[in-house]
């Protein structure tokens, strides 16, 4: 695919909108500083559309301009969840047909995070934005532990419930608290030698699949995620792993028979 630039009002004109505040009182020097800062960001001839004194010592700028950076969208691989989104019925049929038992899923907003609307959107029978939550799926047993659940409690309950998947929500990102807490959970699971036992999935407004992979999770879901999408992923991933394990098992038993 050819190099692309942002689209203002004609193909590849590169026009972007920018706003920022400089710690300078508004005068000719501050305007020139704003212009040069936009140039450094890649906008050779920026338009300072608006400049206003915020109050003593600060000035606010709105800038438009054509950015010269270009990008080939095919020049990088993107970690994306391969599984397609299935319907409520298709998901339950798939599990019945190719797993033959209920999928057990446990979820929580971990450690300091008290935001539950996100995890509830995935778990509650009532669901969110027209999509039923996991509790509503006959082929799922969904256990929602709610808010501020410690990593230790979550892993203990996952073991007790013999969960197939652990679903974790992190909403607050100040001081990168979400990275510390998500890393803590994965490391704890590895330390207890149970990492491989679960699909570990994370979601929240500042999460994405590539970022989740970086943190050591199997999958990541960002803003606007629907419970149907999550259920589709869980069902297809668990079926795939289950069938891979069965194949491996058959192969091994064949080898054992072969070497009598």
């Amino acid at each position: 695919m050819p190099q692309i630039r942002p689209y203002g009002d004609t193909a590849n004109d590169g026009v972007v909108q920018l706003s920022f505040t400089l710690p300078l009182s508004l005068d000719a020097r501050a305007r020139e500083a704003a212009r040069r800062y936009a140039v450094m960001m890649g906008i050779p001839s920026p338009t300072i559309a608006h400049a206003e004194a915020l109050e003593s010592g600060f000035s606010f700028f709105v800038v438009y301009g054509a950015c010269s950076h270009t990008l080939d969208p095919d020049s990088f691989s993107v970690e994306a969840i391969e599984h397609a989104e299935l319907s409520f019925e298709e998901i339950n049929d798939l599990i019945r047909a190719r797993l033959g038992r209920k999928v057990v899923v446990i979820g929580a907003a971990i450690e300091s995070d008290a935001h539950t609307v996100g995890i509830d959107a995935i778990f509650n029978a009532k669901g969110f934005a027209g999509h039923y939550g996991l509790e509503r799926y006959p082929e799922f047993r969904a256990v929602n532990l709610g808010a501020q659940v410690s990593c230790e409690v979550l892993l203990r309950r996952a073991e007790a419930e013999q969960a197939d998947a652990i679903l974790v929500s992190q909403v607050v990102t100040q001081k990168n608290v979400h990275i510390h807490q998500l890393t803590k959970l994965v490391e704890l699971a590895e330390a207890e030698g149970v990492r491989g036992r679960y699909l570990m999935v994370v979601g929240g407004p500042r999460l994405s699949h590539p970022f989740a992979k970086e943190l050591g999770y199997d999958a990541g879901f960002g803003p606007g995620t629907t419970a149907t999408l999550v259920a589709s992923y869980l069902a297809q991933e668990l079926v795939a792993r289950h069938e891979a394990a069965v194949r491996q098992q058959d192969q091994k038993s064949q080898e054992e028979r072969a070497h009598g």
Partner: protein
């Protein structure tokens, strides 16, 4: 709708004064034709295309027949057809090539010439009937969106890029797309030919550009299950010609206001008012909604002090439009949300004039235009101001809402500017849908008092026009937008021609018949020929 209790005597007097002021203008119109009207007659009977040096054939033929224009170009053209046996376009090409000269026709007109002239005119009017029927069918099958209609502009200068953006705007929720004309096309006494990809601050209005954009919007209308309307500008020296092109290509709405041309483009008032009458007769027959340009008065004059000039101008525009045959439902009178936002109770003043105009012209689709001159480069402040503009539009039942852009003071709209604005307008119209039904204005409210004050001042201004001796003298004293124009100044006077007794232009009457098929008794269109 929270209607105002208006002083009905004042409202009646405003209309009476407008009628009295229109009288001498209509007499002038009845006694004259123009080069633009005669070019339009030729276009409507099928003359098109350009000569070897790209001059449109209608211009060439009319220039060659300047001496015959008092009787109209149609009769001599029909006579030449009979005499040469050539069809319409071949004859036009022959005239252009100098092979044929149009000759004077004897009076009274030979029956054969009159019959051919009427047959040619009838064929032209049938094309307009067909285009109108096509729109009515599409409105029925595609669906006619409810008002307020969301109106956005595209202005890239390249018709093919305009099409990309127009389709995107329609998909985002626009009900009307207006292709802004390359600036000052008003001043061209010819219509450029063919598709155009270079324009300045907008795209040239040409018949081919109309055809291309209408076809593109028909595609997206089918996709969306909603008929998307197309607007262009038939202001300026080619008013009737562009109206005819719009009629033939099924445009849905046209900027169509001589007062704009006179005041802001210094076009001669006699020329443009004569042109306007024929252009409005064509728009009326074609089912095209006209828009008038009173919003422009508020870009220079102060909207708080000069709000009443908009209303006086609307009464005049209404009268002239009715006289041309336009039913109220096709008279999209314009105004704007342009009071300085730093005015205490700013919203109350804007609501007062919007509600007053809504109540004064209940059956007309009022065209409400966004804040422009008080917009700054602060796109956040701008987006909020546009939000309140849309709220006042929804509250007072405006018909056509021309969307403001947060970047109004910066550049012509980006794709994302339009997306943000359309989405915000749709939210606001839905969120305030029945707000107007929730309450009644208090008699002693500032809103009611301001509305009645505006009405009073508008009537006073109309009386000032009368006191000064009519529309022309009033314009000479700068009564509108503080800009003075005199009757013999401005562009295009040389194109005005006094009709003689033999003047033949069956279109006036035949178009009236189309109008009457759709709205039984068009109020004022006494037959003036």
């Amino acid at each position: 709708m929270p209607h105002l209790t208006l002083n009905t005597a004042l409202v009646d007097e405003a209309r009476a004064a407008a009628s009295r002021i229109a009288r001498p203008v209509l007499d002038l119109i009845a006694g004259h034709t123009t080069v633009a009207i005669e070019r339009t007659v030729l276009r409507l009977i099928g003359v098109d295309g350009v000569d070897s040096v790209d001059v449109p054939l209608p211009n060439v033929v009319v220039e060659r027949a300047r001496a015959l224009l008092p009787g109209g170009v149609l009769a001599p053209f029909a006579a030449a057809m009979l005499q040469t046996g050539l069809e319409v376009q071949p004859l036009a090409q022959a005239i252009a090539a100098g092979e044929v000269q149009l000759a004077p026709v004897p009076a009274p007109l030979p029956a054969q010439v009159r019959a051919l002239a009427e047959r040619l005119a009838y064929a032209g009017v049938q094309r307009i009937r067909a285009s109108r029927r096509e729109r009515d069918e599409l409105l029925a099958t595609r669906g006619n969106p409810p008002q307020p209609w969301i109106y956005v502009i595209v202005a890239t200068g390249n018709i093919y890029e305009d099409i990309v953006q127009a389709k995107a705007a329609a998909r985002q929720g626009a009900d009307i797309v207006a292709v802004i004309r390359s600036t000052a096309q008003s001043l061209l006494d010819y219509v450029p030919y063919g598709a155009t990809t270079e324009g300045f601050g907008g795209t040239y209005a040409t018949q081919e550009n109309f055809r291309l954009m209408r076809a593109a919007l028909d595609e997206v209308s089918a996709e969306l299950g909603r008929y998307v309307r197309l607007t262009n500008y038939c202001s300026g020296l080619c008013m009737p010609e562009i109206a005819a092109m719009g009629a033939l290509e099924r445009l849905d709405m046209m900027l169509n206001d001589s007062l704009y041309g006179i005041i802001f483009r210094d076009i001669n008032m006699q020329r443009t008012l004569i042109d306007q009458h024929f252009s409005r007769r064509i728009n009326a027959a074609a089912g095209i909604i006209i828009n008038t340009g009173e919003d422009n008065y508020l870009t220079t004059a102060d909207a708080l002090q000069s709000g009443h000039t908009v209303i006086a101008s609307q009464f005049l525009n209404e009268r002239l439009a009715l006289e041309a045959g336009l039913p109220e439902e096709q008279i999209g009178l314009g105004h704007a949300f342009e009071i300085n936002p730093d005015t205490p109770n700013h919203l109350l003043y804007e609501i007062a004039s919007a509600q007053l105009i809504r109540d004064l012209f209940p059956r007309s689709p009022i065209k409400y235009m966004p804040p422009t001159k008080h917009m700054t480069g602060d796109i956040f402040r701008g987006h909020l101001l546009d939000g309140f503009f849309n709220l006042v539009g929804a509250l007072t039942g405006q018909g056509i809402q021309l969307l403001g852009m947060p970047t109004e003071a910066i550049h012509t709209p980006l794709l994302q500017d339009r997306f943000v604005s359309i989405r915000a307008a749709r939210y606001t119209f839905d969120a305030a849908r029945d707000l107007g039904e929730q309450f009644t204005w208090r008699e002693d409210s500032l809103v009611a008092q301001r509305a009645n004050e505006l009405l009073r001042k508008a009537v006073d201004l109309l009386h000032q026009f009368e006191a000064l001796g009519g529309l022309f003298n009033g314009l000479s004293q700068g009564l509108f937008a503080d800009i003075r124009r005199s009757p013999d100044d401005g562009r295009g006077l040389e194109g005005v021609v006094a009709r003689d007794a033999s003047y033949c232009n069956p279109f006036y009457e035949m178009l009236l018949e189309v109008i009457q098929e759709h709205s039984p008794a068009p109020q004022g269109a006494a037959e003036r020929g």
